[in-house]
Amino acid sequence: MDDAGIERAVVCPMKPRRYELGPANQHVSNEVRAHADRLVGFGRVDPNLGGDAVREAERVLDVLGLGGLFLHPWEETFRINAPFVDAVVEVARERAAPVIVAAGYPWLSEGLQIGDLARRFPEVRFVATNGGQINISGLGQTDVELAVDANPNLVLQTAGVYREDFLENVVGRFGADRLLFSSGFPYFDPRLEIRRAQWFHVSDEAKAAVLGGNAAALLGLGG
């Protein structure tokens, strides 16, 4: 963060080696409390676990004091719009907490699949990583734009996104409030990723929103 001039960040657990998300969420909570001026934590749950996942989501938001839920359909292997995912999203809905989705993974978290979940929960704010799609031909971009257009509660992150003009089009078509800067660290390099939001061809006002204003509003950080 310091190398890239980033003031605050949302942190989520990596995939734990022993696949136990509870201790990983506890670790994030501890780290966030130790660096409260710089970090906001999100808790990771695996909807495959049914009632256990619901209880962990409740613990994440009610006990650990984390700011939202993080779902990784690729690493936990579930389809983001599968019906059994609803139970954990409902926990977020009841508490007005945002949900970050590791997005763009084929068959499991494609743009329209995330859009389908967002349609079922219009009160929940969903954040799709990787611009909602991971494809170096841009083949998923139209589907993502359809999902963003149809679901005002869906915003995209910038990390690793193929094509600067995709990000510019999101701002131009849907508004700067639909895009959040993210570094995707440690998969991506924050020193490079921040340039996507600093150097793309939009107004200074839009850049300020993407770089921090939107995230501050989403997380209730007060600007």
Partner: protein, 245 residues
């Protein structure tokens, strides 16, 4: 000398994409890049029978800033061959293939025929090399092995999930060159240089719609030594382009 080895000019109303030569040069200037290699998004003769002319107009407008590769659809047999030969007469410097959009496998005989013609001109063939079927490093490698005299460039060096595979394949297939455009991991550039040698890695952006400025920054963030950075950012591409007959 910085050369951007993979850029586009095209006009595709169906997608709302208009990438003119003026925008290409504007982005080159923004990034401090000397020259760019432009090509269309779609192939000749289909879906654009005038694709070569479109690129030739860009070359004529900016002869000091632009070079060109020809996108030719391998399905079109003798017509494709004639188009590629015509491209070299027009001063094009290489062949570009995008197997997932053309549905023409890199190791298919129609494709190999075009690669051999390019190689006869000492010209490279640039493949889109990402995560889609028919474009992965293991899909392209047999083409490089079938035409060992050809220089085969893996554009995007494997995309998002096939970058390690691209480096591994290039270690055993010596006529493969890795091209950095849009691949999002700076440290993989450093790793490729370490494992393959700086002579086999070339900078490109896939601009103007991918940002050349950001793509150059990616190479800088990779932290190469000065000689390797010079080779990657321009001298390798210059050597490849100047060899074309």
């Amino acid at each position: 000398m910085i050369i951007d080895a993979h850029m586009h000019v095209d006009d595709i109303p169906a997608l709302g994409w208009k990438m003119g030569a003026d925008l290409v040069v504007e982005r080159l200037d923004e990034a401090g890049i000397d020259r760019g290699v432009v090509m269309t998004i779609v192939d000749a003769p289909e879906v654009n029978p005038n694709a070569l002319e479109l690129v030739a107009e860009a070359l004529a407008a900016y002869p000091d800033r632009l070079d060109a590769f020809a996108r030719i659809h391998p399905w079109y047999g003798d017509e494709a061959v004639a188009l590629l030969e015509r491209a070299f007469e027009l001063g094009f410097k290489g062949l570009k293939l995008h197997p997932v959009s053309s549905i023409a496998h890199p190791a298919g005989e129609d494709t190999l025929r075009l690669i051999r013609i390019a190689a006869a001109h000492t010209a490279p063939t640039l493949f889109h090399c990402g995560d889609e079927p028919m474009t992965t490093p293991l899909a392209v490698a047999p083409a490089a092995e079938a035409v060992p005299e050809a220089t085969i460039i893996l554009g995007h060096m494997g995309g998002y999930f096939h970058v390690d595979e691209a480096i591994e394949v290039a270690e055993r297939v010596p006529n493969l060159v890795l091209e950095t455009s849009a691949m999002p991991y700076p440290q993989k550039i450093a790793e490729a240089v370490e494992r393959l040698g700086a002579e086999r890695v070339i900078y490109a952006s896939d601009g103007p719609v991918c940002s050349p400025r950001i793509e150059v920054e990616k190479v800088r963030v990779a932290g190469l030594d000065a000689e390797a950075e010079r080779l990657v950012l321009g001298e390798n591409a210059q050597r490849i382009l100047e060899a074309v007959t």
